[in-house]
Symmetry: C2
Subunit: 181 residues, 2 copies
DNA sequence: CCCATTGGTCTGGTGAATGAACCTTCATCT
DNA sequence: AGATGAAGGTTCATTCACCAGACCAATGGG
């Protein structure tokens, strides 16, 4: 990572992880990727991040093996950014940190709720389905929806508009999805 | 948080969490607090962080309710920084992110291993004791030790020296512990 | 009195984040 | 053909946070 963004001295796996996803915006980009955001302009509009920073972060995440570039059209060549296997394994930490934020850093609780797609039951604190048991539910089997206890989103970007209704994680969203309006 | 360190637009609990623990060094400070580091100078030496930044981060974490100041002597008044209940609940996300780093961002695997104090069994990926089952093991019942598959630490600060042997999480470390040499 | 310990604050320099403007490729409209 | 617009960037000046190191304050010990 660039100067000032690493933790050389730290002999600790957490420091290594933060060198990959600990920079400003990085984890929010990964979160959006779980939401199904794939295209540069969708990340841009949904995150409100400077273009140059988004370019830099996406390249870094690709270099780190968290995201990969996947062409979705040629002429002109365009590609989306998708989670790799390594990236998908960030679901656990990301979900838990989100839940922590909902409990302790948010007025009015979480903005979104996450349920097991197979049975519709909301996940517990560590991402396990209380009805089905077993290990943590993989992100491919999770459906997110807005928390009805909160007022709806006031935002007008394509991603925010798509997320007002239930949405399976990793399913392509916004520009990449059907352009119904 | 200071200008440029928040994510106002994001209607997302993860963004709220990152406004609290997403700045550079913040999560490493919390990690050290789990290790039992309590004193300013111990954080300073173990993290290799600029003093002004450490002051700023500790104050922010206290203001956010993640840490609290606890006097340990008067004349001159001195206090340590301890995890609050809110801070203790960061154990889950922190442990999972650390495990992810050990698997995907570290050559040679994790630097430390974490076991259930009651039975000595290493925790699984989500922080549950495979032998005892049930929910995630609380940090008060976790013992950390260096990973024997790795060369020992080359560092000479008091915290690093203390962590070469098994150590229960949250037990005061370094200057605050017995000054045995 | 001088010095060490602890926990800071202050200052100047540097690199990163920011917002806005600009660029390139190609498809489509007229 | 030329204008227009979408997608995905790059370049630039400014601002801000991070950094290292010097300095400061309260107290206790030799």
């Amino acid at each position: 990572m660039a100067l000032g963004t690493d933790y050389e001295l730290q002999e600790c796996a957490l420091a290594r992880a933060l060198e990959v996803v600990g920079e400003r915006w990085s984890l929010l980009i990964v979160r959006d990727a779980f939401y199904g955001v794939q295209r540069f302009n969708d990340f841009l509009a949904h995150l409100g991040i400077p273009r140059a920073v988004l370019t830099s972060r996406l390249n870094a995440l690709v270099a780190a093996g968290v995201l990969r570039k996947e062409p979705y059209q040629r002429a002109p060549l365009r590609h989306g950014y998708l989670l790799t296997g390594t990236g998908l394994e960030l679901w656990g930490p990301l979900y838990q940190l989100s839940r922590w934020g909902g409990r302790h850093a948010t007025d009015g609780g979480s903005y979104h709720l996450f349920a097991h797609a197979d049975c519709g039951t909301d996940l517990d604190l560590v991402g396990v389905c209380p009805a089905c048991g077993g290990g943590p539910v993989p992100p491919t089997a999770v459906v997110m929806r807005p928390n009805p206890a909160r007022a709806g989103s006031h935002r007008e970007d394509p991603v925010s508009r798509a997320l007002v209704r239930p949405h399976p994680l990793l399913e392509p969203i916004a520009s990449a999805a059907s352009p119904t309006g």
